[in-house]
Amino acid sequence: MSESPLLKLDQATIQFGGLIAVNNVSFELNKGDLFGLIGPNGAGKTTCFNIITGVYKPTSGKIFFRGRDISGVPSNKIAQEGICRTFQNIRLFQALSVLENVVVGGFLRHKTGLFSGLTLLPNAIKETDHLREEAMKLLEVVNLSHVANHRSADLPYGMQRRLEIARAMATQPDLLLLDEPAAGMNPQEKDELKEVVYRIRDEFDKTVLLIEHDMKFVMGLCERIFVLDRGLEIAHGPPEDIRSNPKVIEAYLGEPV
């Protein structure tokens, strides 16, 4: 643990008018972590994601990624820095095919200029083919290669969730933020998803931060959990501690799981 943390929130606060959505939240993520962010509805979890990915600028406090201050940097720059996310309410490029969705993610690392694209020079063709191949590999990881040419809007819900993960993976991030990846999935789909998340962490060497409401899923998957309520931190630690923490039980869990 001698190296500096991959992501560090330092007293991040964001205020919308009179509402403090995230209040003085600080936590650190080390490389290779599987980190869970939980809390009741409206606790500020997705807002946390939004300030990390540059959708909002924090009112005060700082966010460091690999030791560099990234608070207030625009979304597309943050994606280039190596943080990519999925969305709570799925945001696929609906009219595009499954493969094209993933290629958009991979396009972040493109090298040829727009002119090559407009004139379809050999290097643009080569790059396009290369991006498609890479995208195909990612689709295999999330078990979607058989529907690569379908319109993404036509996929069933669970597949759309996995496609969002593949699309985010295509940007080659170091840190992957998953916003309720298991929402609306059946138990079997959840098990598949768990496999995918483990593979992402172990084979692809990514750090994962995820928001989730399904306690069984989070407790089984994450190594550390951070609990938010009304913008404030109420607990932080390994799943066993969280499960028995009286504050968490009162605010969120209701009774021990």
Binding site: F107, L114, G117, L118
Partner: protein
């Protein structure tokens, strides 16, 4: 690599052949009026495909495309008036330079209007572009140096039909290449979901501005061709109607489809121009009675309602559906005629008549109405013409025959 160059050379040869055919047809029309229609139809292809890049592919609702067309035309006109006499170049070469200049100025205007207003979305952007179009036109109307509302003329005229065709081909090629390579995907991603696109590392502003600049530049080049072809310009040529006509072409053809925009441009342009010239055998304008107009409206209404029912409840192979739909349309027309006879419409409504050419815009709007009711995504929707499709058609045909034989 070998294949790449084969395809490239073949496309260039095909494009040149296309220009040659266009030129031959244009010069053999034998009538200046038809020649002008022919050229304008070609220019409208460029205009609608370039607007499709902004509206259809990048999803930015712009309705001021005539402004960029106008800027290109006025740039060419003003420069020709000022400098043509002092230079030794061939008229055709001058035309190319004017297209570049017109394109450049239109692109600058696109950048100027694009940068501040692209933070707006949907209707708000539409209002800004509409306003921009009007501002440009009114500025020209009040500038005495370009003749105000009377316009100004300049010489010489450079009539180069092949250039119209070449520009249309270049425009189509640019858009098609963009969609074929991964470089087109950020544009489509911005259309689909800006927030997600941004989260995937797409620079949304840069992408929108690129689309605006590129689309405007192509429209500006088209304007330069128009200017040198006419030798005369006035602000009324670029009224709001033109913007809306181009927009209608894009929407009708299928937002996002290059093939759709190009075909709709030709089709719509001819639909509003041909009725101007329909005459009876003795050279009179064609008259239409009120009764027959109402019956035509009735026939269209019956056909739409039946076709919508069919669309909701029946599925089948496309050719069967086509035959059924055509049957319904034919039936509706026949039904309307029978009805008009039973009701004795002509006698009841008297002999009030309209001139057919005054109904051009009515026909256009009814057509748009029908398409929007039956196929809101446009005639071709997102589909594109491709050689694979043609091949499949033939192969299917072949397979069918084989089945029959066995």
């Amino acid at each position: 690599m070998g294949k790449f160059w084969t395809v490239r050379i073949a496309s260039v040869v095909a494009a040149l052949a296309g220009c040659f055919i266009f030129q031959t047809v244009a010069t053999n029309l034998g009538n200046d009026y038809y020649l002008r229609l022919f050229l304008l139809a070609g220019l409208y292809v460029t205009l609608s495909v370039s607007l499709n890049l902004i509206n259809g592919i990048t999803g930015q609702f712009s309705i001021g495309h005539a402004a960029f067309y106008m800027i290109g035309a006025y740039t060419a006109g003003i420069l020709t008036r000022a400098y043509y006499e002092q230079q030794p170049l061939l008229p055709e070469l001058w035309l190319v330079i004017m297209m570049l200049a017109g394109g450049l100025f239109a692109a600058l205007a696109g950048l100027l209007v694009g940068l501040p207003s692209l933070r707006l979305k949907g209707d708000y952007l539409a209002i800004v572009t509409l306003g921009f179009g009007e501002i440009i036109r009114i500025v020209a109307t009040n500038q005495q140096s370009v003749g105000g509302s009377y316009g100004f003329s300049f010489g010489p005229k450079v009539v180069a039909p092949w250039m119209v065709c070449l520009l249309a081909i270049i425009t189509i090629a640019i858009c098609r290449n963009l969609l074929k390579s991964a470089h087109g995907l950020p544009f489509l991603a911005v259309r689909e979901d800006e927030i997600a696109a941004s989260a995937m590392g797409v620079n949304v502003t840069k992408t929108k501005v690129a689309a605006f600049v590129l689309g405007s530049a192509l429209a500006g080049a088209a304007g330069a061709i128009l200017a040198l072809n006419e030798g005369y310009l006035n602000p009324d040529i670029f009224k709001m109607d033109v913007s809306f006509l181009i927009l209608t072409m894009v929407v009708l053809g299928g937002t996002g489809s290059i093939t759709g925009s190009a075909l709709a441009a030709i089709f719509l342009f001819l639909t509003i121009e041909i009725p101007r010239n329909i005459q009876t055998a003795d050279g009179q304008k064609v008259q239409i009675t009120l009764a027959s107009l109402l019956m035509a409206g009735l026939a269209i209404a019956i056909a739409i309602s039946l076709l919508r029912k069919i669309k909701d409840h029946f599925h089948g192979p496309p050719n069967q559906r086509l035959i059924r739909n055509l049957g319904v349309i034919g039936g509706s027309i026949a039904g309307a005629i029978v009805l008009s006879m039973i009701l004795n419409a002509t006698t009841v409504m008297g002999d009030k008549t309209f001139e057919f050419d005054k109904l051009r815009m009515v026909i256009l709007s009814i057509m748009l109405l029908v398409v929007m009711l039956l196929r809101p995504q446009g005639v071709l929707a997102h589909h594109e013409f491709s050689w694979d499709f043609v091949k499949r058609l033939f192969r299917k045909d072949h397979d069918d025959k084989a089945e029959v034989a066995s």
